[in-house]
Symmetry: C2
Subunit: 318 residues, 2 copies
């Protein structure tokens, strides 16, 4: 007998971490999306309401990320009933913070909770990927950390290809999201098709150092090496307004390194102190303020836990 309703939270994520293009990502403590699902007797998932998207997300169950993920879980569970979804969107669309992944993950975790959590988190991965695929393609660099938390190394789309790395103490993140559109498709299109071998060696060396620094909890080391991406950032930099100026301002305010979050335009600075991360966030926002670009600044930490069930109401609850 399913519960009457369930609610889940899934965090925003920073994919790539500079040199870890398409293979590394981390979960943020905030922001994140919340999904509430109510059980209904009719099969399939439908949208009851979406808050916080400015009307931009599709309500069509076949196009909505959360609905697709929910339907995928329902199908895996083999149930004949369905769910009505309310999506509370707390993170900006197309911002490089894994918005579609967070919605898909929150929906999958909520539906699973509705039916008493028969599936483990890794078992929910395919459903989350189904939802993500509707928007961004079938890849796990946002879905992985949003579902599983921490810092994840992603070498494929099956759960045994997603590895949790340790989360170093003392990492504080400052993020700024300028109000400009950087569609993921465009950010992919500008990438080189081919890379010279020398650059590949430099990139593999930097990635190896990044994993090494993560294990050593060497915050300065990881922030420095994240930035040494000689392939992806140079190709995308022109899509990120004021990247150079924001990086300079962040470092003047005490940041140890700065990378593009996912495909951008959010920029993510790494700090080793909470107060500094607050100052860095303000300094980054100030760069956009000076040129009249609206932006949102945040400071937060790495979320060790990924998506979480917030509330389950059984049939007897009011």
């Amino acid at each position: 007998m399913p519960n009457a309703s369930a609610e889940a939270f899934a965090p925003a994520t920073v994919a790539n971490l500079g040199v870890g293009f398409d293979i590394l990502g981390l979960a943020l403590r905030e922001p994140g999306d919340r999904v509430r699902v109510e059980h209904r007797d009719q099969p399939g998932a439908v949208i009851t309401d979406i808050e916080g998207d400015g009307g931009k997300l599709p309500r069509d169950p076949e196009k909505n990320t959360a609905c697709i993920a929910a339907n995928s879980v329902l199908k895996t569970l083999g149930v004949s009933s369905g769910v009505a979804i309310t999506l509370h969107k707390h993170l900006p669309l197309a911002s490089g913070l894994g918005s579609s992944a967070a919605s898909a993950v929150a929906a999958a975790v909520a539906v699973n909770a509705l039916f008493g959590e028969p599936l483990t988190r890794p078992e929910l991965l395919p459903a989350c990927l189904d939802g993500e695929a509707a928007v961004s393609g079938y890849h796990a660099d946002n879905v992985g950390p949003s579902l599983l938390g921490g810092i994840t190394l992603i070498t494929g789309t099956s759960s045994d290809q997603i590895h949790n790395l340790p989360v170093p103490e003392g990492v504080y993140l400052a993020l700024v999201t300028p109000d400009v559109a950087v569609p993921t498709a465009e950010a992919r299109a500008v990438l080189p098709k081919m890379v010279n071998l020398h650059d590949m060696v430099a990139q593999t060396g930097a990635v190896a150092r990044l994993v090494d620094a993560i294990y050593r909890a060497d915050v300065r080391g990881l922030a420095t090496v994240m930035e040494q991406d000689c392939i992806i950032e140079p190709a995308r930099a022109h899509l990120m307004p004021k990247l150079i100026e924001v990086r300079e301002a962040a470092k003047r305010a005490g940041a140890l390194g700065l990378v593009i979050s996912g495909a951008g335009p959010t920029l993510c600075a790494v700090c080793d102190d909470e107060k500094v991360s607050e100052l860095v966030a303000a300094a980054m926002k100030n760069v956009y303020d000076m040129v009249g670009v609206q932006s949102t600044a945040r400071h937060t930490r790495i979320a060790v836990k990924g998506a979480q069930v917030l509330r389950v109401n059984d049939r007897e609850s009011p």
Copy 2:
């Protein structure tokens, strides 16, 4: 006042570790080169004798790797006297085991010991690189592990760009060196100049996994991921006789993975048991025996320590 003579050992090394092309290497407990230096009043380094090279190595101080490294240390120390070198060559030339690096490192460490070890191991790196450069170019993927020991991550040629990774317990290596020439220059020439982005992502993912597995002491994981090199091995495979057959034979005998050591032709199999590594070495050699190719098989372990001073005789010793 310098000592009368000193002797040092430097280990053979396995560079690349498959997916870690040009950035990873490890030191072997054996074989290794031994260098004995005797103090002389005349400036500079000269060769007294070389044993075990079949007469193939140059005796000219300007071309001999050990002499060049020795001279570089003498210059760094600012001494006006010199050394006479006896090189005991215990590892095969042009075999992919870092032969020139071992000679350079043993010479540098011996000269440093002759003068009372004024320089630290990392401070000897430039001299070792000078010696290596005469044969293989100015890179540290063999010199680094031979000098410093263990598993090293090499992102450049200065000592702060060489990082010791942890050495997992339980790694046993089986090596086979067929008696065929694979000049490093030819092994470099066959490499692609450009790599497609998709392959680069796969390679960075595999390298990240390898470092992760090293930290986790996951021997099976590291052996599996080492092999997932989609760029270097495919380009070089045709230079390694019977690569496919040796890998198959190694795995049938219990090996967990096999990679080309450096630029080859030595092949290095990873095992998680000493007895198995002995059987694997024999099975690999048997493949060459069957086709009439002479080969040398070895089984050994990762050397946690790098080059070592074996003996120092002061002026009063007999």
